[in-house]
Amino acid sequence: MDKNTTELLKIENLQTSFFTKKGEVKAVDGVDLTIESGETVGLVGESGCGKSTISLSLMQVLPQPAGKITGGKVWFKGENLLEKTKEEMRRLRGDRISMIMQDPMVAMNQLLKVGYQISEVLKYHENSSSSLNLKDRCIDLLKRVKVPAPESRINDYPFQFSGGMSQRALIAMGIANNPDLLIADEPTTALDVTIAAQVLKLMQEVQKETGASIILITHDLASIAQICTRVVVMYAGRVVEKAPIKTFFKNPAHPYSVGLIQSVPVLGRRRDQLYSIKGQPPSLMDLPKGCRFAPRCEHVFDKCLNEYPPEVTLEDRHKVSCWRFV
């Protein structure tokens, strides 16, 4: 908290577990993460590595009663979110922090009109002093996310929307109250490639307009390259590398990051040369003692297996947790 005053979100040692019948699943296990005002950060990692759990934890909408935050602090604009009451959190959600979910088809309530679902975000947060009524503000929002004929579309139901249009409507809900932080959880996974590109572009424009910080959760490095300024790599519930976007693609440090970049198919390269990281990620119920990537790592040595590596700063803003750099 010392050096930078534009810090919007600072997550310190966040731990989140799911308590299932079979035992405790440590989905997020000691994550430190800082987001500055106005930046777009990509959060990458395999599915199940805890990316989505981080966002649900900081919004405190974990599935109940299984999900529980077991430790850490989440500073948002200088206040610890984990000490806030339920009502205070509710007021923050959809207002200062909002989120775009992965699959618009299931994220929207099929039985309620799209217009109503957008209006909810406005209705329950009484801060904006717009003179327009709810309906006009909804139309306005749909216009901003480039949904054609918004006047009639607000009376449609989600099943009458295409995938791309639904995602736009979700983005409209996300930006309705000009949030300070917008989390996009794999916003393009459920969409066609061309529509995905449009949605990414839209998010970029929205950010320019509102100045919000964006966390883009994805496993798709291409979309990160397209809009992010910084990358955070997660593996098995922990952050393993943080780097500015150029450094990450040019000079990845952590063996897992290297593997990720190598496994992206490149046009012109033969298919049988496509790289894949060997092995499976560890069970989150039974984590290895040392580095969690060690069993799959090409550069593994004794220390890796016995002790978790500390975070090392390589150059400005490039940090990595790997014994090779200690």
Binding site: P65, M108, N109, Q110, E120
Partner: protein, 306 residues
Amino acid sequence: MQGFIFKRIGIAIMTVFLVLTIVFFVFRMGAADPVSIMLPPDASEKEAQMLTKKFGLDKPLKVQYLNFLKNAVRGDFGESFRYSEPAAQVFLARLPATLKLAALAFALAVVVGLSVGILSAVKPGSLIDRVGRLFALAGMSLPSFWVGIMLIMLFGVKLQWLPISGRGGFLNYIMPVICMSLYSIALITRLARSSMMDALKSDYVVMARIKGVPEKNVILLHAFKNASLSVVTVIIGILAVMITNTVVVEMIFSWPGIGRLVIESFFTRDYPVVQVFVIFLTILVTTLYLIMDIIYAYIDPRIRFQ
């Protein structure tokens, strides 16, 4: 939407017609030969012929069937052998007593079932959830006629707190209503709980929370609206269960309604009254299903815009 309703009305009419036809053939072709039932054993051939003529049984089957349908549309199902009155009239005189009982039991089942079901889904593992689940299991496993007898034995015979038979004041309603709604409460609780839990786990509920919608609205609007689709189905199904239960409960508590009437008529071979019962219930149930379909379409736009 209109086309949808018309289609459903068509199906309802077809159902009633189908049942009318089955009723005709079952009672006409089956054991219910009114001549042999009504005739004293020492009656002469001539008297038998007269009766046969009176019931139109000498005409060809096709004519009999058409006559039956024609009369049925007018609400005429012949005369009760036992009461020498039109069967429909005998039936209608007993109907209000049953409707009062059924309405109370139904209201109790819906109110208790829904509230316990929703509350236990919102807080799984809580006291109300555990009690509710135990109660639901009991309600599904206890035969309602046995519960009725046990109630009579405890509160009627032993403690003498409640009257054991007949209609009268408010106290007369307590045991029959409990006995009649027990199974339905259990069924609604169980279903409301499981469909609410499914709804509360879904992404659209998480999304509503992410939008900052107050928890009360998340539960009662977002989750319940989706859960209500399956709840509506079971609630209508429960009305059919209640009909069976009326017969049982009215027998146990000597309630002067249609349930007891139909059993008495059945055992005295007063088939016109049984026929009225069967046809009336078919119309009632098909109407209820029609209403359910309309409610369903009202809740779910995907059906409405089909």
